[in-house]
Symmetry: C2
Subunit: 538 residues, 2 copies
């Protein structure tokens, strides 16, 4: 992969095409590039939300057809209805939410290829196949969660007590994040301190500045008085003790020995540190109480009467001075039509590409130009919360360079008794396509086998049941989310988001906050604002 | 302050004596040393809890007198009762919990000096004057919270969106933690990268190792392809954008300019980073739902019948083949006695020092040798959660070099409507003594004035009412917690924790987890285990 490409992947959230991605992962030798890809899944820092739009005065009888009852579509319907439009929503699924979705015990899910899973989780437990965490700066989403009464609780992202596994480090034994991060940064501080002592820093710093830099490194990197990162109370206070502090006669702690720097480097811990410090993962993050799908349900209640479920759109025409969508009523097999003056289309691009769409060549080219990423998630229900009870891990993520990429401990029901669902796989790129090619049972088996590296004594013993979603096999999206590159942004983005006669597209694919619910909502607000303006001017 | 002293303060959680501390703070020029002191308030990584003790077979009729119904005393009573002892607890206050304590609306609190505060918080709101957060590795406390049914929720410690204020940095304007931390570490990475390029690192690293170190610095420090920390998508992904990513036509983000390194250094951000990375503050932390005092109440229920409230102990005698405590019944003024075969004394050392105690000269010397720290907390109730609504700050801490040291946003009720209580002051050292010398109203005024630096537009406008606790004026402790030094540990610690004829001391002061509830509990378990052994051998 060229230098430039790497930079853009890492910095911009703009992913290469599927082919480029697979090639990149292949070049880096299997799964070792996954951290990089994961890191680029989350990008920036804030949003452009300025409050809900104040759309008013729709023309008497004006109507809008919304395609898709995901968050973008439902928000469009909600705001357009407030503005006075008559709105109808066509939705392929028999539930609201789209990719905002939780699988609960009793749910049934059939993927492309025909495999059907009956989810067997205990009451209250769930897997979020799609979005699973909400940054504090996703103000649009948080605004409507509050307005629509969705109860939120903290999502734990960074957990110092969680584990990091790199096959070629520490003989394949996972280590605690706190140990690796402390040792990496301690060594960085010591090395820079030495460079200062050698007067080899090529900077314009004064002696005073240099002294302050040394002082800062001592504190930040936990160096001793000789500016060394060594075994002692200072380093153990961050990385942990051999015998922790206690009470009474044997209360005195015994410090731990830092790892050899070479071993720390083998762990590639900097990828995990960077991942956690990224703007999308900074504290405080949230999740809805009871599963991410609670948001889709809450939005669905607001527009309940407008949604026609089980409607598979096959054709979109705007030649007759209005918009006509032809769809199959999946319950009866009947072919039907829905008409309106305008249309907000939130259908994912990979699906939309297969629909006969009456639009400008530019828009059709844009739709064809943006590939979708894949990912696979596996939920593993465990009979007890052994990660909490035995290892004091409450929420957070343990990372691995295996195909499963990570396991994440539930942030809901912390410190409670009973079974819990671990996110046992969140695979990307080549690994995701490999897992998608397996049966759901085989995916669970891979998740168990690879995840056991973190908790070898409990993982299989406590396993109860599992469920998986491979996004390339999800019938209503055929992929996870849109993957723009710098080149496709330049060539197609403005065309994709522009109002095309009577149709405007909305969704995460029509935003720069790709793969996040916030992008879908911001895109939707911008789209309906412009569509309303167009309608007023018509 | 000597080098060695600094090291011990920072690393060991062992604080200098009060005089040493004040001198240290004075030398460092006012409040600038406060971060150092604060950092040393939290120390290590895990605990020595191995499960509850299995004490059995107390002699028929054997009895234990417990002095103090704080957590240490109540746990001792609980476990000794299970072992078969007859237990009575004498408690000065009219509630269980000791320093585990929350102030709610309607509560009244009178400090030494006579100032009485009637707390006026809205229902559900509270100030935790003492402990306020629970590390995930405090297994003893978490064990009994689960056993006694205390509901917990996450406590947010590190918040990237919170602010850092240093009077002499950025013209006194606070900056976001995420901006300062990203810029500090980015510059560290760039500087070390330059040192590598100059081949000036005095290490035995191979070229391969050096290349990998460079690669790690690029990822960890968000450097560009030329190994520079510059304005761009990479650095903005962590520090934030000028115009954040959005949806639709204007979705493209605009990167932000990193601060000048000199300004970053002026902020002394490394102290805050180190504080958050310290073992005591690592994720996941907890707090009880409804206030820390819920723990004291839950413990209190377990030993309800054993506690004699409003009992001020004035004398402890063990000359007659048993232990006799003389106490004043505060409700009636009557002088009374309580007798038992043995005694677990959890009275804080500053109070115990004033009580006539029949014990070995060594124990008396130990009690006299350990000073207590002071701290002052102020709670400020705000009419609305403007920090959440206006600034997307959910929980966490904003730090300042002013006397108030920090403000902390409530971790309970996140994203809810209605009023919230900010911890508006958590002062230490000299600042705490200064604040303790003020009236409660004056303390609230200082908290408002200094805290307004973070939220100038809302702080006074939204203020509703406040409450404060200065620990040097708390009648039942006369201080916050025991401050051991390396020297006093060596000379007095084992004497302090040893069973002295029929009496054993317990509490955070008899542990190496000083100032934390976990220390009190571990000390208590160790004390009752040894006391039981002594009783069996007698």
């Amino acid at each position: 992969m060229a230098e430039g490409e790497t930079r853009h992947m890492m910095s911009d959230g703009m992913m290469p095409t599927r082919r480029q991605m697979l090639r990149a992962i292949g070049m880096a030798g299997g799964t070792s590039a996954l951290y990089q890809a994961m890191t680029s899944m989350g990008h920036a820092a804030e949003t452009q939300f300025k409050g809900p739009p104040n759309l008013q005065g729709a023309r008497e009888g004006a109507s809008v057809l919304v395609l898709g009852a995901g968050l973008a579509g439902m928000l469009a319907a909600y705001e357009l209805t407030k503005a006075g439009y008559k709105v109808e929503i066509l939705e392929y699924n028999t539930r609201p939410g789209g990719r905002n979705w939780s699988l609960y015990g009793g749910d049934t899910y059939t993927e492309l290829g025909g495999a059907t899973q009956k989810v067997d989780f205990a009451p209250g437990n769930y897997l979020n196949p799609g979005p699973w965490r909400i940054p504090h700066h996703h103000r649009t989403l948080l605004h409507y969660c509050k307005q629509f009464g969705v109860a939120l609780e903290p999502f734990m992202q960074l957990n110092h007590q969680a584990l990091v596994h790199q096959s070629k480090a520490f003989g394949g034994k996972p280590q605690r994040y706190r140990e690796l991060a402390a040792d990496y940064e301690g060594n960085i501080a010591e090395l820079l301190g030495k460079a200062i002592d050698n007067k080899s820093l090529d900077t314009a710093m004064t002696i005073e500045d240099t002294d302050r830099l040394r002082e800062s490194l001592r504190t930040w990197g936990l160096l001793d008085k000789d500016m060394r990162y060594v075994k002692g109370m200072r380093s153990s206070a961050r990385r942990g003790f051999d015998r922790p502090r206690g009470g009474g006669v044997d209360g005195a702690p015994i410090p731990s020995e830092p790892f050899a720097f070479k071993d720390v480097m083998d762990s590639r811990i900097w990828n995990v540190v960077q991942h956690h410090m990224d703007g999308f993962h900074q504290t405080t993050m949230f999740q809805p109480v009871g599963g991410m799908g609670m948001i889709g349900k809450a939005f669905g209640k607001q527009v309940a009467g407008m949604i026609r479920y089980g409607a598979k759109v096959t054709k979109i025409d705007q030649s007759g001075g209005n918009v006509t969508a032809t769809y199959t009523d999946m319950a009866t097999g009947q072919i039907k039509e829905a008409k309106a003056d305008y249309c907000v289309c939130t259908i994912p691009l990979g699906i939309l590409y297969q629909i006969e769409l009456d639009a400008s060549p530019g828009l059709l080219a844009a739709i064809a130009a943006v590939p979708y990423s894949n990912s696979v998630k596996v939920g593993l229900e465990m009979k007890r919360r052994f990660w909490e009870e035995d290892e004091a891990i409450y929420g957070g993520i343990s990372f691995t360079d295996q195909e499963i990429a990570m396991i994440s401990y539930p942030s809901g029901g912390l410190h409670s008794a009973g079974p819990g669902v671990i996110l046992g796989t969140y695979a990307f790129g080549g690994a995701a396509y490999k897992l998608a090619g397996m049966t759901p049972e085989e995916r669970v088996e891979v998740a168990l086998k690879q995840g056991a590296v973190f908790h070898p004594e409990s993982y299989r013993k406590e396993f109860s049941n599992g469920a998986s979603v491979a996004w390339s096999r999800v019938p209503f999206t055929l992929g996870c989310c849109a993957r723009w590159t710098e080149e496709t942004r330049k060539e197609h983005y403005q065309t994709l988001v522009a109002v095309d006669n009577r149709i405007v597209l909305a969704g995460e694919h029509a935003s720069y906050v790709g793969c996040w619910m916030e992008g879908a909502l911001l895109s939707s607000l911008d789209a309906v604002t412009r569509l309303h303006k167009r309608a007023q001017e018509a």
